[in-house]
């Protein structure tokens, strides 16, 4: 079998999702028996314009980045968005809640007008180019990446779950965060993380984005039942780029 050529790229992000690839530890060595990494700036000095699969991390915050992404899209047969910054915009999208100029001055004060600080509305990858597969999460769960890669290796379409985190939360036998008077985004957030946060006694903050058809009506009604407001819910939703 010819090994698919894989390139890994990043845009505005913390590089934590790439780190999960490194964090596969011994398993990474197994992965490398089946794919040929041709570019991965964080880990390798090699560079290449010839690849089958592009794995792209990070969100798009400047026009020059959008152009670079379009180039990558042209070259890659398959483009995978890696992690919340790429799939949703992630925490970077918090910036979109503010006026751009004001954001710059808040951080850089009098230097804010420097051209290097040019910044645009944050976009997820699919808002700029077509994305073939999404690996959700902040950070991603390496198991999902290996699932997608294995699927691609045997020619099967990866099927991300279209059910909420509560499913995996139940399978993990957790106590529901609502029992502790917390707002958990689990009921409307796409599963796949094995309910990481609730399993660690913390609410789900929605880093994987909503399921296909979230019951927003229920979510708002349920807030009332728990003595919370829709505003409380919205503030939580915006954390990882769901607006």
């Amino acid at each position: 079998m010819i090994k698919p050529r894989i390139a890994i790229f990043d845009f505005a992000c913390c590089e934590g999702c790439q780190l999960q690839i490194v964090n596969m530890e011994e398993e990474l060595l197994s992965l490398l028996e089946h794919v040929q990494p041709v570019e991965w700036r964080e880990a390798m000095s090699d560079q290449s314009d010839d690849y089958d699969i592009a794995i792209v991390e990070g969100s798009i915050t400047r026009e020059e980045d959008a152009n670079r992404l379009r180039e990558i899209r042209k070259r890659a047969k398959t483009l995978i968005a890696l992690g919340a910054c790429a799939t949703l915009g992630g925490v970077n999208k918090l910036k979109n809640l503010f006026d751009l100029e004001e954001v710059k001055t808040a951080v850089y004060a009098e230097s804010a007008s420097l051209p290097i600080l040019e910044t645009a509305t944050v976009q997820a990858l699919h808002e700029v180019v077509d994305v073939d597969y999404r690996i959700e999460g902040c950070p991603i769960d390496a198991a999902e990446l290996t699932y997608v890669i294995k699927c691609l290796l045997i020619g099967r379409a990866p099927a991300p779950p279209n059910y909420p985190v509560c499913v995996e939360c139940k399978l993990a036998e957790n106590v529901c965060r609502y029992d502790y008077d917390e707002i958990c985004l689990g009921p409307i957030t796409r599963a796949g993380c094995r309910a990481r946060c609730p399993s660690n006694a913390f609410w789900c903050f929605g880093c994987r984005g909503p399921v296909d058809d979230p019951n927003v009506h229920a979510a708002t009604q349920v807030m009332e039942q728990y003595g919370k407001t829709v505003e409380d819910l919205k503030v939580k939703l915006t954390l990882f780029g769901t607006q």
Partner: protein, 440 residues
């Protein structure tokens, strides 16, 4: 390796490394020399600015560590701690001794993971003339497997205590959302014990190769947390090799002195000199007296003396610190197991205030400062990350180092400069303040 000044000055050099590889984040090296005359010699950082300080405004104190952890995947635990300590400072929250110990343990896990990653995956290929760890896995399989095993244990500590390898979940203002079981701690103890011989293997390999490191030295100021008689990562005051008394963390703004440099568009930091350095070497230079026995032994066998000022030796100091954190982790687990884990979950009520948190990231001291209103909503933030503090120092190293090597082959010059940058273990995606740069 010779660092004698060049004699033949006929060389033309044009180095333009866009995005130095094997580095967290994006950095450029631009060097232009004609007939031996250096025309341009710059370290630039084109990382897309992310504006975290602006973005956390309006967020509840409960969400801050979740957001700022995302500044950097590699030091997500440190950023969480920076935020938690600042929040606790602002709201007068006291944490239990158990919480402090568990936090410290998590923090050690991150140091181990990050140092193993940096030394083993990113720097080792330089020393072994490979382009990455991928071919190294074939040519030096045992060494790579040793590094992988050390790295895995660092991650395991973060996962078992913080809830995840990257972007910890359980770390909350006031304590932990969930505590490790005693079985978890015992598992960690065994894994950490097994790590010591692995570290010895790694140290021996690095000692063999360290001779290949350039013998470049430049005196500078080193800044790190100090807290005698400990080798601190998590608690302490700000120490400097240029100063006898430490500076309180609350005064960090008078330490970092962020300023605009006329020649560069980056915000730089300086204190008593034109630049200062933070990181493993800075910690070593300030706290070497308080190393644990195995760490001190490793330092000794490397011939690493307090006061050393060769930036390339930062990687050696990182190996020494790996021993340090493993030894200390084992001691902490011992204490925790002998007292037993007490179930506690923090209940924190917000209040208005300003707070500062300082912690040592693997790559140097880090400051977080926040202001909260009475509902615990963040109204202002100022974050100063280690790589920012090193930026001026890297530039000054360039200025001192390039004339020493300008007679070499262009490729060699480029390679040495990349190595110099890499030795700092810069973590540019952290850069909330990077302003740069001309794109050549």
């Amino acid at each position: 390796m010779s660092t004698a000044a060049p004699t033949i000055k006929t060389k033309t050099i044009d180095i333009n490394v866009r995005h130095v590889t094997r580095l967290e984040g994006h950095g450029n090296i631009v060097v232009r020399a004609k007939d031996g005359v250096i025309e341009k010699n710059e370290w630039q950082v084109p990382e897309a600015p992310r504006f975290f300080e602006a973005m956390v405004r309006g967020r509840s104190f409960e969400d801050i560590q979740t957001v700022v952890s995302r500044i950097c995947g590699i030091c997500s635990v440190t950023h969480s701690f920076g935020a938690l300590k600042a929040i606790e400072d602002a709201m007068d929250i006291k944490v239990s001794a158990q919480t402090s110990m568990l936090r410290l343990l998590t923090h050690y896990g991150e140091q181990l993971e990050s140092h193993a990653l940096h030394v083993g995956y990113l720097v080792a290929p330089d020393l072994l003339n490979q382009k990455s760890v991928v071919p190294l896995a074939a040519s030096h399989e045992d060494l790579v497997k040793t590094v992988v095993a050390i790295h895995r244990v660092g991650n395991l500590v973060m996962e078992k205590i913080g809830g995840r390898k990257t972007h910890p979940i359980r770390l909350l203002p006031g304590g932990f959302s969930m505590l490790p079981s005693e079985a978890d701690l015992r598992e960690l103890m065994h894994e950490l014990e097994d790590t010591i011989p692995r570290l010895e293997t790694l140290a021996a390999a690095i000692a063999d190769l360290a001779g290949g490191l350039p013998s470049f030295e430049r005196e500078t100021e080193y800044v790190a947390l100090v807290n005698p008689p400990t080798y601190p990562f998590y608690e302490g005051q700000i120490g400097s090799t240029d100063l006898n008394t430490p500076t309180p963390v609350a005064d960090f703004e008078s330490v970092v002195n962020e300023y605009m440099h006329p020649q560069s568009t980056a915000k730089w930091c300086k204190w008593h000199r034109e630049s200062y350095a933070v990181g493993a070497l800075a910690r070593y230079n300030l706290n070497a007296d308080y190393l644990q026995p195995l760490a001190a032994g490793a330092a000794h066998s490397f011939g690493l003396k307090k006061g050393v000022c060769n930036p390339f030796l930062n990687n050696v100091a990182q190996v020494v610190e790996c021993f340090q954190v493993v030894e200390r982790s084992l001691q902490l687990i011992d204490v925790l197991l002998s007292t037993g884990i007490t179930q506690e979950r923090p209940r924190v009520s917000p209040k208005a205030g300003v707070g500062v948190g300082a912690v040592e990231a693997p790559r140097g001291i880090l400051f977080h400062k926040y202001e909260f209103d009475e509902d615990g909503i963040c109204t202002r933030a100022n974050l100063c990350i280690p790589t920012n503090q090193n930026h001026a120092n890297i530039q000054l190293d360039f200025e001192a180092f390039v004339p020493q090597i300008i007679d070499r082959d262009q490729d060699e010059v480029r390679h040495l400069m990349e190595m110099l940058v890499r030795s700092y273990d810069p973590c540019i995606s952290c850069s909330t303040h990077y302003l740069n740069v001309e794109f050549v």
